[in-house]
C-alpha cells in the first residue's frame, strides 16, 4: 500500500510518514499542492490523506486535482476544525474518512488498513 500525505505542517507529516513506514506502509508527504501533483504524476498511490485547510487551497480542491491524474485514488481528510459542515462536505465529495487533529495514530492506521482491504 502506498499513501500520500498532504499538509502544510511539515513536521507533522514527516513524523506520520516515518511511523507508517515502520508499520510496512509506503508513504510520502507533500506540503504544497505543487509537490503533491508532482509526486502523483511520478508514482501510483492507493490513498491520499489531505489537510482540509491549507494556505491558498482547500483539501477538497487538492482532491479534485489529484483525482484528475489518478481517478481511483481513495481520499481521507485530516482537519484541525472538525465542523459538521466540513464532515458533510467531505462525505458528499467522496472522502473515505475524516479525522480531527490531533489524531489517534492507531485509528489513523486502522482507517488506512480498512481502505487497503476494500
Amino acid at each position: 500500500m502506498r499513501v500520500l500525505l498532504v499538509d502544510d505542517e511539515q513536521e507533522l507529516v514527516e513524523a506520520l510518514v516515518e511511523r507508517l513506514k515502520f508499520r510496512g506502509i509506503e508513504a510520502d508527504f507533500a506540503t504544497t499542492k505543487e509537490t503533491a501533483l508532482k509526486l502523483i504524476q511520478e508514482k501510483k498511490y492507493d490513498v491520499a490523506v489531505l489537510d482540509m485547510k491549507m494556505p491558498k487551497i482547500s483539501g477538497l480542491e487538492i482532491m479534485e486535482e489529484l483525482k484528475k491524474i489518478q481517478p481511483k485514488l481513495k481520499i481521507g481528510f485530516l482537519t484541525g476544525h472538525g465542523s459538521k459542515e466540513d464532515l458533510k462536505e467531505c462525505s458528499l465529495k467522496g472522502g473515505c474518512f475524516y479525522l480531527v487533529k490531533p489524531v489517534d495514530f492507531e485509528d489513523f492506521f486502522n482507517k488506512l488498513k480498512e481502505l487497503e482491504e476494500k
Partner: protein, 200 residues
Amino acid sequence: MDLSNPLWDLIQIKGQITASISHELKNCLAIIQEKSGLLEDLIELSEEDNNTLSLEKIKEITTSIFNQTVRANKIVQNLNKLAHTPDDKCLNIDISEYLSLSLSVYKRIADMKNIELTLTSPESFQYSTQPFIFLGLIISILNDFTQQEENKEKKLSFLVKKNKIYIEPQIKVSSKSEQIASLLNITLEEKNNTLCINLT
C-alpha cells in the same frame, strides 16, 4: 432576534479568531503527539532488534517537541490577551501593541489567502479606548480585505504615525467596520490608495 447590532459582529469576530487559534493549537498538539509517538516506535524497535537508538535522532525529535511547546505558548499568550480585552470599559493602550496582537491572531487566516501582513510603528502611541472593540475593528477591516477576491496573494501594511493608522493598499470598508468604528467614535478615511484610521 435583532442581529443588526454591531456587538453581534464583534461576537462573531471573537468566534472566528478563537476558532483559528484553536486550529493552530491543534497543529502544535498533533506534532507533539506524533513526535512522541515516533520516539516510542523507535524505542520499541530498538528493543526488538537489540539496536542502539541514534542520539542524533532523539535530539531531533526532542528539539521539535520543545519548539512546538514554545509555539503553543506564544499562541496561548495571545489567546489570554484576547480573552482579557473586554475587562475594562476604557483603557489606555499602546496602539502598536494591540495592532501587533490583532495581526498575530489573524495571521493564519491571512496565510490561507496568501496575504502578507506587516506592521511598522516607528513611535509609541497611547490611546484611550475599549480594547475588545478596537481589536474587533482591526479584524473587521482585515476581513473586508481578505474577503475581496482581488486581494488574494497581496501584501497589507499597517503604519502607525502619531494618532493615525495608515493601511495600504486602500480597503473597501464594509458597513460592519463602519458601525464598529462608530462605537469607538473613530473615523475611517479612504484616500490616496490608503485607508486611514483616525484616532482622535
